[in-house]
């Protein structure tokens, strides 16, 4: 009897073990020493960074498809060479010459040549890419005198400063032989089966589960990549990333996937590091978009009063828990090339805000309310929503009754950027290394309805428009930079948009992961030198 019950118990124990082993992810059986598991919070519909130049796409695709140059902390002009090894603009701004790296192969074995660059620039970046459309608007032709030289020819003078600053973001090179002959490149199947020159090959994507990238043994970088494999595990729930890190299920979470409120706690967990560096070239800006069609808001005194009513230090301290900087205008402080701090400032001052509103002709009525507004906080970040709640209170303190309207992402974009059904909106705009890429569009008039993160508030100022146009065709770097510094003065004076804070993201990683955050776009760079220590 005894032996039977014993054997039964062993049987149960054995089968329980078997059961447990099936529950373990397959990942646990590999050589974890060279496999990096990363939390990913989205699965972009189109994964081609040459077409969709956005951080969600770059996060995964930048390991497979490389740009001509990458941002760098110590490189010349803030750049490190990738597929191009040298670049130069002509004095008249009508051409730019790139010397390309030799001996580079696509993941399918074909050689990388200047024809690929010409094809990418003319067939993809200029006509299809969200940012390339602006940067390469005047690109006419790309000459390829030999296999390793590409000469960009522009119809109108195009400042090389802009091209150079935009390179990391707009110049992801795709293979000509993959896309040539496609009727509709934007809808191509190849956009989700990436073939690139990068340190990692695209291996597979299981929707809702993970992306798997594997080592490219033929990579041009000597001794790189250091990892055998990168797994992007899809974890859409932000709160889950911290738990997964602590449990060792993932080794890295970028883009503040671990909520700011958890950082204090998790930074004390042994074996986990918190990095606030590595996002300098992709600064997010917290701004208040204004609908200038509202009579009250068309009055500059009202806009200035609102700027005075916002306690920027409180926002940085409480909403961003210190992981942000107060903003003075449309260019963030960590873009020293362009930043101009010598502009009209709006310190937190409720009395002054009240006085300005009285002067503007909107006295408090019986209930203490001057007028009512609709306030639409962008739903993309916890911080933008929380700032919406804060702004409502800040406005109440000066007698403006704001009603918060919460929408999902699609409805928010439609309401603000297409239908203009808003009075104030909270927007997370992005500064991308040069004001001409995604910043001047916020204040210049004439953008058609429907373009997200552009001036859709109906703001028109001839001086600002003229300044932007002049900077757009000024080839001389010093003169162009000076124009953008003047622009900041005008914007701070007239407040077409109110900038509150500039913030970068936070990376949290296991201390086994080495060489984290070693360039200003680290999370969206190629990770060729990223290592995993066992």
């Amino acid at each position: 009897m005894n032996t039977i019950s014993l054997s039964r118990r062993t049987l149960i124990r054995g089968s329980a073990l078997l059961l447990v082993s099936t529950a373990l992810p397959p990942v646990a059986f590999g050589q974890s020493g060279s496999r990096l598991i990363v939390a990913a919070d989205s699965e972009p519909r189109n994964l081609n960074p040459a077409i969709v130049a956005s951080n969600g796409v770059f996060f995964i695709a930048s390991k497979v498809i490389e740009p001509l140059a990458e941002a760098s902390f110590d490189g010349e002009g803030g750049l490190a060479p990738r597929l191009a090894i040298a670049w130069e603009g002509s004095d008249d701004g009508l051409s730019a010459t790139f010397r390309l790296r030799e001996g580079v192969k696509w993941h399918d074995g074909q050689p990388f040549t200047s024809a690929d660059v010409a094809f990418s620039a003319l067939q993809v970046w200029k006509p299809l890419q969200n940012l390339g459309r602006l940067v390469f608007a005047n690109l006419e032709a790309v000459d390829t005198p030999d296999d390793h030289t590409a000469v960009f020819r522009f119809a109108k003078p195009t400042p090389f400063q802009l091209i150079r600053n935009a390179l990391p973001v707009v110049s992801s090179v795709v293979a000509k032989h993959i896309f040539e002959g496609e009727a509709d490149i934007a809808a191509s199947e190849a956009n989700n089966r990436l073939v690139g020159t990068g340190p990692f090959r695209f291996a597979e994507h299981r929707p809702g589960e993970y992306y798997r990238l594997e080592r490219n043994p033929d990579y041009w970088g000597e001794g790189e990549p250091k990892l055998d494999e990168i797994i992007f595990r899809v974890l859409p729930d932000r709160a889950a990333a911290a738990g997964a890190l602590e449990a060792g299920e993932i080794q890295l979470a970028a883009f503040s996937q671990v909520p700011l409120t958890d950082l204090d706690r998790i930074s004390k967990v042994p074996g986990i590091e918190v990095y606030s560096k590595g996002y300098e070239a992709l600064t997010y800006q917290l701004g208040v978009e204004i609908n200038h069609r509202r009579a009250e808001l068309a009055n500059v005194k009202v806009r200035q009063a609102i700027a005075h009513a916002i306690d920027r230090d409180f926002v940085v301290r409480t909403i961003f828990l210190g992981y942000a900087e107060t903003a003075t205008g449309i260019v963030p402080k960590n873009a020293p090339e362009f930043y101009n701090g010598d502009v009209r400032a709006y310190p937190f001052d409720v009395d002054k805000a009240n006085a300005l509103l009285d002067e503007a002709g909107y006295p408090r009525k019986d209930g203490g309310t001057r007028f009512r507004l609709r306030l639409l906080p962008a739903p993309y970040f916890t911080e933008t929503r929380q700032f919406g709640d804060y702004l409502r209170q800040a406005l109440a303190a000066v007698g403006i009754d704001a009603t918060v309207v919460n929408n999902d992402a699609a409805a928010h974009q439609k309401a603000v950027y297409t239908d203009h059904e808003f009075d104030l909106a909270v927007a997370p705009t992005v500064f991308r290394g040069d004001p001409a890429i995604s910043t001047t569009i916020l204040v210049r008039s004439g953008t058609p309805a429907g373009v997200p993160f552009s001036n859709q508030g109906g703001y028109e100022n001839a001086d600002i428009d003229a300044l932007i146009d002049k900077a757009g065709e000024t080839v001389d770097t010093t003169a162009r930079t000076e124009l953008y510094k003047q622009l900041q003065v005008l914007v701070a004076q007239d407040l077409p948009i109110i900038n509150v804070a500039d913030w970068g993201f936070i990376t949290v990683a296991s201390s086994q992961v080495k060489n984290v955050s070693n360039n200003p776009r680290w999370a969206v760079s190629n990770w060729a030198d990223t290592e995993l220590e066992s």
């Binding site: 739903p379 929503r385 929380q386 709640d389 209170q393 919460n406």
Partner: protein, 280 residues
């Protein structure tokens, strides 16, 4: 006609009913006193953010991420929750009782048509219906109330119809017909009042459900962002669940107490009504 008084008496004799009534009275008191105890907007930033409970006498239950008074939120949240619960229950009872009475009293094709509409609404889970309605119509208090009622009116409709079907065969209804009363008058003045008590017993359950659905909507960010509700407090607190769990626990207790109170009252009510029926 002292039936309602008798019912109340019986309710007060059942322990569950008394406990439920007491809890709800407490909540109603909190809701009614909120504007006096905590005047002004409960969403206003009142002090240092994330003050833990029982440390600062000015904020007995602490403050949230932005420095808003949790106790003020709790009281004003009781107001919102009870208002939504009662309004949603009222709307669904009125709509349900009317539809049910018309269907039961008219019979035939009208009955068939109305009951198929009820079926159609019942096949969709109430919460999904509310979710869809709010995301289309936009989040504001009246929309949320309507959205909840949209999923809740079918229960009262069915119950009312069943009651009416039995009542319309009674002698006094036949008498009313004989003296030439208009059918609509008979339905509304003779039949409906007598069909109502069991339907009203359902009200408590609906209130409980409505409070929960409203909280779930707010939790998902689909509540009215301009008023404080327990659901939105829990959603806010969820971001700091590991470091400041009290932000979720405090409004969570509010919800538990409300729903418990409502169900106890419903229990007591149905006991009281059952014993009334049991007597000849």
């Amino acid at each position: 006609m002292n039936a309602p008084i008798n019912t109340l008496g019986r309710l007060l004799r059942s322990p569950a009913g008394v406990a439920g009534l007491a809890l709800l009275a407490l909540l109603a008191l909190a809701a009614l006193s909120a504007p006096f105890l905590f005047p002004g907007d409960p969403l206003a930033i009142a002090g240092a953010p994330l003050t833990p409970p029982f440390t600062d006498p000015a904020f007995p239950l602490g403050t949230d991420r932005l420095g808003r008074n949790v106790l003020a939120g709790l009281f004003h949240g009781a107001q919102a929750s009870l208002a939504v619960g009662l309004a949603a229950a009222a709307v669904s009872i009125i709509a349900g009782a009317l539809v049910g009475t018309i269907a039961g009293f008219a019979g035939g094709l009208v009955d068939e048509a109305l009951m198929r509409v009820v079926d159609a609404f019942q096949t969709v889970p109430g919460f999904l219906l509310a979710l869809a309605f709010v995301s289309v119509a936009g989040a504001s208090l009246p929309v949320v109330i309507l959205a909840i009622a949209l999923g809740a009116w079918t229960g009262p409709a069915r119950l009312a119809r069943a009651e009416v079907l039995s009542i319309r065969e009674r002698d006094y209804v036949a008498a009313a017909r004989v003296i030439g009363m208009h059918p609509a008058e008979i339905a509304l003045r003779e039949v409906l009042p007598n069909a109502l008590p069991p339907v009203l017993a359902l009200a408590a359950v609906i209130v409980g459900n409505a409070v929960l659905i409203e909280s779930a909507l707010s939790f998902l960010g689909l509540g009215d962002p301009n008023i404080v509700t327990w659901g939105s407090m829990i959603a806010e607190g969820r971001n700091v669940l590991r470091s400041a769990p009290f932000l979720s626990i405090v409004p969570g207790i509010g919800l538990v107490v409300t729903v418990l109170g409502v169900y106890l009252l419903a229990e007591g009510l149905s006991d009281a009504l059952a014993s009334r029926k049991a007597r000849p």
